[in-house]
Symmetry: C2
């Protein structure tokens, strides 16, 4: 037997950069195609975030140049605010350093790992530093080559210089090996296309390694409102958070601490909590212990608060989702729902938006079949990978689609678009490609999809009813000439008049149904009621004419036989 | 527009513990059921690792006690080597500190995060420290309450004391809120059951919150060979690793560095590399630069090396997999394959073992259907969650099962058991529930499953052929009495003799086929050839008797009608 002392002799501490170097797959660096897309994702999200925080309409240029087998140079250029010289090392070569981690603000990046991950991956595959040129708009461009000292999680900066230049923004050039470009669903091109769909206020130019140039022009010239830091909502706040917020607070009383720290916490609400807990709210916030914090959290659970303020949340909005759906999918029918803001664990507010599109180019074509397709977005960032471990996929797979007349998802031309907007997306891993299965998020996604699915069900059952009604109308119409002829003999009335009379009666009941099933496409987007208008004599005449033409055509065919 | 200086004013650095506190879902803490299972997973794997490294046959006792709504106390006790007092804080309350991260050794834990993650999750949900009692076998038990200072990623230790005690091992008691116990597929009970299946050398006692006690007795009294640290294999080694190994080496020449640092690198092989690269291998290892390292890696790619040494890899072995399959699934047919050791990125050696079981209790019952079930293991640790993002699931989903006569995985009583054994499992996230899609791993899993699937195909097509042959035999046998009667009249020979003669001829061709389709189950596990023996006169007599009995039974039925 080996003794404990012997075993623990090899105890060592490691840096977070060493951890992510060894576990690079957790950052998205597994597989050549995915690795390239991960790099593009990091550069693009950082550029968009920087522009939006500075209030600049984003203009990005991404270029991928092939240098050899599995060997590429990636260039990313933006018109953002630039990076101050003294922060360069931390932005590009120090993990867990950044402005985003601790603030309660809706941004794409949020961890302070991704950009440094790129620098590290470039360095461990190509051996080359990441070249950065950045200009904060004060006439000077700062240029440097940056590497990361992995053991110490800190930057090594070389070849620094400053040149005169009026052009504001940041340009990154880095070389990668062991990555690969593809035009497929998981490639950088698709990533950028989906980014453009969800961010119509950005202009994005993309040059692929085959020298193809894609320009996604700005469709909206208004910047989404600048993201602002928010406060946590009391509902869902956990005890640990409350204790740590309280203990680091500078406020003089528990009451002012509560009112100033949390969203929707008025003086009256704090007073209510004081009463319910029986605690003295004039004490210093730092003096509360775990049991007291537990009491406050329990009281919060029993108190109603306004829904989280949405001022810090900037969802895609229905108009943009509709444009994306109509442009890309041109569906037979669609439905868009935006849920009211909710919170998950720790009072983090979020909004779920869902678009369901049916028919047209909806769904994913594969081997001649059309299967249901899920397009996932988080803060307008497309999520391409790890679909299987994402809460969105989980909801879709677990939903009882039969209730919505959608039986076999494998064979339905359906596209499901889901965007989660939040000040903090609970990603399953640092690679940020899947949203974790938080129960509150699950429920909101589920409710939104169900609302849309109900619309589709209504549409499809309307379509089915219409089909049944059409069959009935066709049957009735078929007998009109015969009966009219018989009645002509009986009553002496003119057959054509009788026919018209009959058609008028039929159309009183089936006026909304065309005989050949070619309702104009537009109408199907409208609610069903509008369709149920009576069409009167003109429609009857037209139907009769059609019927007679068909009859003639049939007789001609019979003669030819 | 906001200026860069303004934006970067809020730049802050964060500890890895803060990162994982905010992103607790990355450690497996999302959802109440999953959170509880994650805790059990961390305690059990640490206990098993400690025992095995010390050469002790593991005996574990895990108790879950419900204290309130979503509120539990978890106790884990082992007979392992104990933890030296001075390492207590780092083991339980400092992330990225440990013995496993930097060593090239096959263990269940590997990151130095999990155990501290438990301490943190207990603390942020219940506010309570983790109580530890540990004894290294020298007559004293060290007792302490441990918390983590999240901001500084370091331990806070209270209530320390030492008592006299002869009993070696470690006991952990911690309280958790916001977790839930379930008896289902994702619960702690199922986790422990699967652990017992894959670790028959361990005795595990599990007491669930309903006071049910499960004892998994030791089925094998031999400890798996103690894991030993290995060396990286040159194939798959990347340039960055080579440079960093070389620069931290104390060896005097590049040649001795290569020979001593890498698996299967003989002096002769190093000489071959020297020739191919044209470099001077008498130089200090620290003197090589990136381009030179690239040359060495390129030369390694063109040189053949022995497959990685397997002495540090301890797979489950066929015998154990077979026992698990027979015990748990009692299948109609099974096939087990163990691939030869291979390497993935960075020369990490691994072995893939696959067992496919068909029929019997194989597959997953759900709503009356039986679907294909995948049981994933990594270093004998069951992987219950995130199936969708695991390379094993990916292989299964992408395999062309039709080629193996298995059309619709949704409706097949098939269990697929895969165990990856490696000195480093490339998990998709720190929660360690899914294996990343590394191409080398994908290929090995695929090949192993395909080998097993071929066996199943052979079995199923044998079964089908047998069925066809049985039908033919039955048809022939049916006409024997009639033809015999006719021949009796024609030739004067006795009908019963003729019948026997005919049956003998039929059984020469169809002797392996029983008329009623009830082949003994045992035989189906054997290769097909053995079945194809001729059964001769006895079999013929028996078949004839059976046939006559059936005939009589039928006639009686007719009479009754």
């Amino acid at each position: 037997m080996e003794e404990a002392e012997e075993i623990f002799k090899e105890f060592k501490e490691h840096s977070v950069a060493e951890f992510f170097k060894k576990n690079r797959q957790m950052l998205g660096y597994s597989g050549k195609i995915r690795s390239l897309t991960t790099v593009i994702h990091e550069y693009v999200t950082n550029a968009l975030d920087a522009c939006e925080e500075a209030g600049i309409l984003p203009e990005l240029e991404v270029t991928i140049t092939q240098l050899g087998n599995d060997h590429y140079r990636i260039t990313s250029k933006d018109n953002g605010p630039g990076i101050p010289k003294k922060h360069m090392g931390k932005v590009f070569a120090q993990m867990l350093a950044g402005t985003k981690f601790h603030r309660f603000i809706q941004q794409r990046g949020q961890q302070g790992i991704g950009c440094t991950g790129c620098t590290m991956f470039a360095q461990i595959t190509s051996g080359k530093p990441t070249h950065v040129e950045t200009n904060t708009g004060k006439g000077k461009t700062y240029i440097a080559d940056i590497m990361i000292d992995v053991k110490r999680n800190s930057a090594t900066i070389n070849n620094e210089k400053e040149i005169e230049s009026p052009e504001r923004g940041t340009k990154i050039i880095a070389e990668y090996k062991n990555i690969a470009f593809t035009r497929g669903d998981y490639g950088a091109g698709e990533y950028i296309r989906r980014t453009a769909i969800a961010n119509p206020h950005a202009k994005i130019i993309f040059k692929d390694p085959n020298n193809q140039r894609f320009v996604y022009e700005r469709a909206v010239s208004v910047l989404p409102a600048r993201p602002t830091p928010g406060k946590p909502h009391p509902k869902g706040l956990d005890v640990d958070d409350l204790v740590s917020y309280a203990h680091s607070s500078q406020e003089r009383t528990l009451k002012t601490f509560l009112v100033k720290s949390f969203d929707r916490m008025s003086g009256a609400k704090a007073g209510e909590l004081e009463k319910k807990t029986g605690l003295d709210f004039k004490r210093k916030p730092g003096s509360i212990n775990w049991e007291e914090a537990e009491k406050i959290v329990a009281a919060i659970k029993e108190t109603s608060f306004l829904a989280p303020s949405t001022k810090e949340l900037k969802p895609m909005k229905e108009k943009q989702i509709r444009e994306a759906i109509l442009n890309v999918l041109d569906p037979e029918f669609y439905s868009i729902k935006s849920r009211a803001p909710a919170t998950y664990r720790g009072g983090v507010p979020f909004i779920i938006e869902v678009g369901l599109a049916y028919g047209g180019n909806s769904g994913k074509k594969a081997n001649g079949d059309t299967r249901t397709e899920i397009m996932r977005f988080a803060n307008r960032t497309p999520l391409l990978f790890d679909s299987g471990s994402c809460v969105i996929t989980k909801v879709v797979n677990e939903l009882d689609w039969k209730r919505y007349k959608l039986k076999d998802l494998e064979n339905i031309p359906l596209s499901i678009i889901v965007n989660m907007t939040s000040t903090y997306i609970p990603y399953t891993s640092a690679g940020k490609t899947a949203i974790s299965n938080e129960s509150d998020v699950y429920r909101e996604v589920q409710l939104a999809i169900m609302e849309c699915a109900r619309d589709i069900k209504r549409y499809l059952s309307g379509k089915r009813k219409k089909h049944e009604r059409r069959t009935r109308k066709q049957t009735l119409v078929r007998y009109v000439p015969e009966i009219s002829r018989a009645l002509e003999d009986l009553t002496g009335k003119k057959k054509s008049d009788l026919e018209l009379k009959f058609m008028e009666i039929i159309n009183k009941k089936y006026g909304d149904i065309s005989l050949n099933g070619e309702e104009p496409k537009e109408e199907e987007h409208k609610p069903m009621q509008e369709d149920r208008r009576l069409q009167g004599i003109e429609a009857a005449q037209e139907d009769l004419k059609k019927m007679q033409e068909e009859q003639e055509a049939k007789e001609n065919e019979d003669l030819e036989d």
